[in-house]
């Protein structure tokens, strides 16, 4: 049972990872000239959530922030439209206006982000309050510090909304570490707002364990993860960073490689074609 789940998650991650590697190359080759925020290293969060939620047959409202390619892809956003968007085309998912950070998808109920980190929290809370629909809002460990995010936790808790706050905690605000910025934890803060809150790793099994609470009441998961590439653009801060994808692939051995290669082939070809067509 959990093997099936892990395989689904792995498949999703492999698509996201290969996508991000193509974006990385496109930036390096100057085919993309604006800031991109690569989610490589952090994919298992969205991949796990999307897999869990599909199983539950729920179609949530999704509010993400700048580092959101994996969220878009995991929940089923159209790949071509995202490539078009990154190439600045009108056919893009945000009509060529959204770049990398402000993408959206009507099909999967994913709303665009305005670039001010953390604004997605109050907006998601308002949307959830109005519609009472299951809602997921993605935050970074830094945007979680915004006063309006904290206020959003408070009101979501007061109104007992079916909302899931996901903090993708890569320990970094650009390059400033959490310990430099604060001496508190967002999961403890959420608890003092009388919400259920947990501090877990980005292991898909850990995420799944908490899914019994999803959308019954407001909850917050602070999920510790790792960013493989630069905050913005194509570069590597350290080659010693733990990579969840690699460790998951190992579990599946040869099958893991097959999953990876299949996704790689599909996505490499797609990128190549679309870049040539430009």
């Amino acid at each position: 049972m959990s093997k099936e789940y892990l395989k689904e998650v792995l498949k999703k991650i492999s698509i996201c990872r290969n996508f991000e590697l193509n974006v990385f190359n496109a930036v390096k080759k100057n085919n993309i000239k604006f800031p991109v925020y690569l989610s490589a290293g952090q994919e298992s969060i969205s991949a796990s959530l999307a897999t869990i939620i599909k199983k539950k047959k729920i179609k949530p409202l999704i509010f993400a922030q700048h580092r959101c390619h994996s969220t878009y892809l995991s929940f089923g956003g159209n790949i071509r439209k995202l490539i078009y968007e990154l190439l600045g085309s009108k056919k893009g998912c945000a009509y060529g206006m959204g770049g990398s950070a402000s993408i959206q998808s009507r099909e999967i109920n994913m709303f665009g982000h305005d670039g001010h980190m953390g604004t997605q929290a109050p907006i998601a809370v308002g949307a959830c309050f109005q519609s009472k629909k299951p809602t997921i809002v993605f935050l970074g460990d830094a945007s979680a510090e915004e006063d309006y995010v904290l206020a959003s936790l408070g009101w979501a808790s007061t109104k007992k909304l079916p909302i899931l706050f996901i903090v993708e905690d890569n320990n970094l605000s650009i390059l400033t570490e959490k310990k430099v910025r604060r001496n508190w934890d967002i999961h403890s803060v959420a608890k003092s707002f009388k919400m259920k809150a947990f501090n877990i790793s980005d292991n898909p099994l850990e995420i799944k364990k908490k899914s019994k609470y999803f959308f019954r009441e407001p909850i917050l998961l602070n999920i510790n993860t790792n960013r493989l590439f630069w905050h913005s653009g194509a570069g590597i801060d350290s080659d010693k960073t733990f990579d969840r994808y690699k460790s998951l692939r190992k579990i599946f051995g040869a099958q893991g490689n097959t999953i990876h290669n299949k996704a790689k082939e599909k996505i490499d070809i797609l990128w190549k074609k679309m870049l040539e067509r430009q």
Binding site: A94, Y95, M97, G98, S102, Q104, F111, G112, D114, H116, T119, A121, P122, I123, A124, V125, G126, A127, C128, F129, Q130, S131, D147, Y148, V149, A151, S152, G154, W155, T158
Partner: protein, 304 residues
């Protein structure tokens, strides 16, 4: 019986909640006073939603509700609180249609008052929103005007910043433009200054000064009757914009626009360039009839 502005707003809100299943968001709505008597006595079950006292987030809650196609009315009890409430309204709701083709219409009821309330929140702050794209700004001071702007909001899909003034709530009368041939000066009045402009005009007539008066309901996009541009062109001394906000904002922007259109000098009169204190002599109030008359006399005397 004829309704005043207060009763008109209250009725509009009652219908918005009852018939359109809309919502009103704001702070301290259901407490004593019901926002100057402009809200019907309804509660969260009816759609009147008390948000927490977190102003910045509150603006975001209203924006999120608007994304769900609910056309929320967001009440900001003092316009100065917009310094906190505005961020997500101007940066998200106002841009959403352009960037994502996803309209996000919020009806911002932003309320001005002044006199003895100190430096914090008084007067109008519509200039704060004015410089941003994707917002429509109006300042209704009469029952008919209020009804018309609400209807327009429900027909369209934009963010409306409705710059109200408590001083208008008792008003039942419609305010008419005054067009005199070859005037000395044409007045363009915004918000609460419209009432003082009428008083000033009546006094100036007796001094044989010829004044036309154009009431500005629509600030953005700016709506000025074309015959008043012609009138401005044939005026002796140009125009004067009156505002309940600081002059370095909407007033000077409109002055520039009218100057280009008419070739005439356009002057401005608004709040003074200082903070308001609580004590009457330290206050910062919008131009009253005497100040308007003084300014007009000064313009005329300087040119003579």
């Amino acid at each position: 019986m004829e309704k005043n502005v207060r009763e008109t707003i209250k009725e509009i809100i009652r219908r918005h909640l009852k018939l359109k299943q809309g919502k009103v968001f704001g702070q301290c709505l259901t407490a004593v006073g019901w926002v100057g008597g402009t809200l019907p006595e309804m509660y969260e079950k009816d759609g009147m939603v008390e948000v927490s006292m977190a102003d910045v987030a509150g603006g975001g809650f209203a924006v999120g509700a608007a994304l769900m196609n609910s056309r929320p009315i967001y009440v900001i009890r003092y316009q100065g609180f917009n310094w906190y409430n505005a961020p997500m309204i101007v940066n998200y709701a106002c841009k959403s249609k352009e960037i994502w083709k996803k309209p996000c219409p919020v009806f911002v009821r932003s309320i001005a008052m002044e006199g003895g309330i100190g430096p914090v929140a008084g007067s109008s702050h519509h200039s704060l929103y004015y410089r941003m794209p994707g917002v429509k700004i109006c300042s209704p001071m009469t029952p008919k005007e209020y009804k018309s702007i609400y209807k327009k909001f429900m027909r369209e899909d934009d963010v409306f910043y409705v710059s109200e003034h408590r001083g208008s709530y008792n008003n039942k009368k419609e305010l008419k433009n005054v067009l005199v041939k070859k005037p000395d000066i044409v007045l363009f009045a915004i918000s609460i200054t419209r009432f003082e402009a009428i008083k000033a005009l009546n006094i100036l007539i007796k001094q044989n000064i010829k004044i036309s008066l154009h009431h500005i309901l629509w600030i953005k996009p700016l709506k000025i009757e074309s015959k008043f541009i012609k009138n401005l062109k044939e005026s002796k001394y140009g125009g004067l914009i009156l505002d309940d906000d600081y002059e370095n904002g909407i007033a000077k922007s409109i002055a520039n626009e009218l100057n280009i259109k008419s070739g005439k000098p356009i002057y401005t009169l608004g709040l003074k360039e200082k903070s308001a204190g609580f004590y009457p002599t330290k206050d910062n109030l919008p131009p009253n009839k005497n100040e308007i008359i003084k300014k007009i006399n000064k313009i005329i005397n300087e040119k003579k």
